[in-house]
């Protein structure tokens, strides 16, 4: 077991290194001289040379990578071209809205999708099943921002139940925080619900034909317990896996949802950085998001091996 955990941990290192190399090369491939961008329009050649020297841009590319990776290890993400601030600071200031949105979305998605999926599997072939599957395909087909604007139109503009846009930090009161978070979280959860419900249905459907389910029925176990204790528990591995893989969808969705609802989070920062061609910030945000994605999936893999006695490596 310890050997497996160690091997799994070591296996993520090359992935992260390749992500870092790709992200680093991205900046080198960009047209234009970063030093000239930082120096601004009125800079002299000497000033640009000075900045180039300070950033290490006059060194060979391998040395540049070493400097950049070394800084990264020390938590130094560099300085933003556009915001003229250390990127670390920039990211810390934007983390709360994004984390709140992601957590709220996960909470809604999991608590809606799993019961839906189990119900669809239990009523396999019925109209409930067809409605759930139909919803799931539709959830994959409508872009996040269309769902967002539709919800804004109905619940904020027509009914006036929620504010149209904006974010309120948790420190400004929980009520207002939650009030502004509901619509964006529901918006973002749609595609996630579609994904998880579909996988839950497929996985539970497979388990329901197992012998031990028949045994449980034969000994007179209540249906609800059969579903949620016997079936769901054994169907959990693919469901949890898809929740992890879905983090990639969630991250992409965060970028869009924050733009629709004017939430000052990391997604909005990403879009602003791209529009301003602020490459160091783009790099940092991509690295951060990829690291989180890889990290969560690593934890999920490790969690199986700890909690599921059937999995032996």
């Amino acid at each position: 077991m310890a050997g497996y955990i160690l091997r799994r941990l070591l296996a993520t290192i090359p992935v992260l290194v390749i992500v870092a190399v790709l992200v680093f090369l991205m900046l080198r491939l960009t047209p234009g001289d970063p030093a000239a961008v930082i120096a601004g329009d009125n800079a002299t050649t000497e000033q640009i040379a000075l900045i180039r020297n300070r950033l290490g841009l006059d060194q060979p590319i391998l040395a540049q990578f070493a400097i950049w990776a070394g800084n990264l290890m020390q938590g130094n993400l560099g300085e933003s071209f556009f915001f003229k601030k250390p990127i670390g600071e920039l990211i810390i200031g934007r983390i709360e809205p994004t984390l709140s949105l992601a957590f709220a979305t996960m909470l809604i998605a999991i608590s809606v999708a799993i019961p839906l999926g189990v119900l669809a599997a239990y009523k396999h072939g019925s109209w409930i099943d067809r409605v759930v599957m139909g919803f799931s395909v539709m959830g994959f087909s409508v872009p996040v921002f269309v769902i967002g604007y539709a919800l804004i139109y109905v619940f904020a503009i027509t009914l006036g139940w929620f504010p149209v846009q904006g974010y309120q930090p948790l420190s400004g009161g929980f009520g207002g925080f939650l009030h502004r978070l509901v619509l964006p979280a529901v918006t973002l959860s749609v595609i996630y619900i579609a994904l998880i419900a579909r996988m839950t249905r497929a996985s539970v459907l497979e388990v329901l034909s197992e012998d031990y389910i028949r045994t449980a029925r034969a000994k007179g176990q209540v249906e609800r317990k059969i579903l949620f204790r016997h079936a769901l528990k054994n169907a959990a591995v693919p469901i949890v896996t898809v929740v992890g893989i879905g983090i990639a969808l969630l991250i992409g969705g965060v970028v869009v949802t924050e733009s629709v609802f004017s939430i000052p989070g990391l997604g909005r920062l990403t879009v602003d950085a791209v529009l301003a061609r602020d490459y160091p910030t783009i790099q940092a945000v991509i690295l951060l998001f990829s690291g989180v994605y890889v990290g969560i999936n690593l934890m999920i893999d490790l969690a199986y091996s700890l909690f599921d006695p059937r999995i032996r490596y």
Partner: protein, 308 residues
């Protein structure tokens, strides 16, 4: 999956060739029929856009900005004759006809869907065949693909887009890049399982050269899964284009795409929701049709996955 005819089957009751039965099953599947019909309709819409009562989708008209759907305008032609044009879906904040832009938008979306699906499958197929067959390269290629897949798709597309000037080609490239590793994985796993099959070993024993071995014996096994994969890539390509354009980092705003129309309508959304509503409906229906087609294809070509 192997296409070997059974020697024991009596000649008289020879079944229909598999290709024909698959086609018949496909046409009978209502999900495929509906998805295909909708897609056909959208294709026709895009192809015949100039003949469907549309105006120039890029023509700016300052005097009729932000009109509600149903607004009528008199157009004076060069020879002095006048016609009344009805803006069925209203106009945007530059006075362009939304209906014309939506209809022309079908062209761009479908073009992107088809080109992204074919190019990413072609590249992914090539890399996947190499990874699956040339053992020493497998490790390197797959680690590289793992790295690419570790970057969430939309972010990778955003990163690629930020490298180039915005334009149709750069957006297509940006959508292709994140799809490649997924195709490589599928192809590689098929190659790995097929290369152990007796008929492949027999072909190797006979001295079949590598290119012929690939094309004749290994490639056919990848066709069905790749058709399915291709439809899902097409669906996601339409969505990603819309998202990129909506964020203002996609195709230049004057080109009519569904994402651009919606991006344009963002600021005045509260007063003129139709600028987001109509292209949103067209986009949703098209992607839904492609997804239905994909689901139906998968159920038919891979019965093990049916109804999942």
């Amino acid at each position: 999956m192997s296409a070997e005819p059974s020697l024991l089957a009596p000649v008289a009751s020879e079944p229909l060739p598999p290709s024909r039965t698959v086609l018949m099953r496909l046409v009978r599947n209502p999900v495929v029929a509906i998805g295909g019909a909708v897609l056909m309709l959208m294709t026709l819409l895009g192809l015949f856009a100039p003949m469907l009562g549309t105006l120039d989708p890029t023509a700016i008209n300052p005097s009729t900005r932000n009109r509600m759907p149903g607004f009528e305008r008199t157009i004076r032609a060069d020879d002095g004759t006048t016609t009344v044009f009805k803006h069925r879906m209203g106009t945007d904040s530059l006075g362009r006809d939304v209906y014309s832009r939506v209809v022309y938008g079908a062209r761009v979306s479908l073009l992107i869907a088809v080109s992204v699906a074919t190019v990413s499958i072609a590249i992914g197929l090539f890399i996947g065949l190499i990874a699956g067959y040339v053992r020493p390269l497998d490790g390197i290629i797959m680690r590289f693909m793992d790295g690419l897949m570790a970057i969430p798709g939309i972010l990778l597309a955003i990163a690629v887009v930020s490298l180039f000037r915005s334009g149709l080609t750069s957006v297509i490239i940006a959508i292709i890049v994140p799809e490649i590793p997924r195709v490589v994985r599928v192809v590689r796993s098929i190659v790995l399982s097929v290369r152990e099959e007796p008929y492949v070993e027999a072909a190797i024993m006979q001295g079949t050269r590598l290119p012929k071995l690939m094309v004749r014996h290994i490639l056919p096994n990848t066709v069905a899964p790749l058709i399915v994969q291709g439809t899902f890539i097409a669906a996601s390509a339409i969505l990603v284009e819309a998202i990129l354009s909506f964020l203002g980092i996609g195709i230049p705003p004057e080109i009519p795409t569904w994402g651009n129309i919606m991006a344009e309508g963002r600021n005045l959304f509260r007063v003129f929701p139709h600028n987001i509503l109509y292209p949103g409906i067209f986009l949703g229906i098209t992607v839904l049709a492609v997804n239905m087609l994909g689901d139906g294809l998968r159920d038919t070509l891979d019965p093990k996955m049916a109804g999942r």
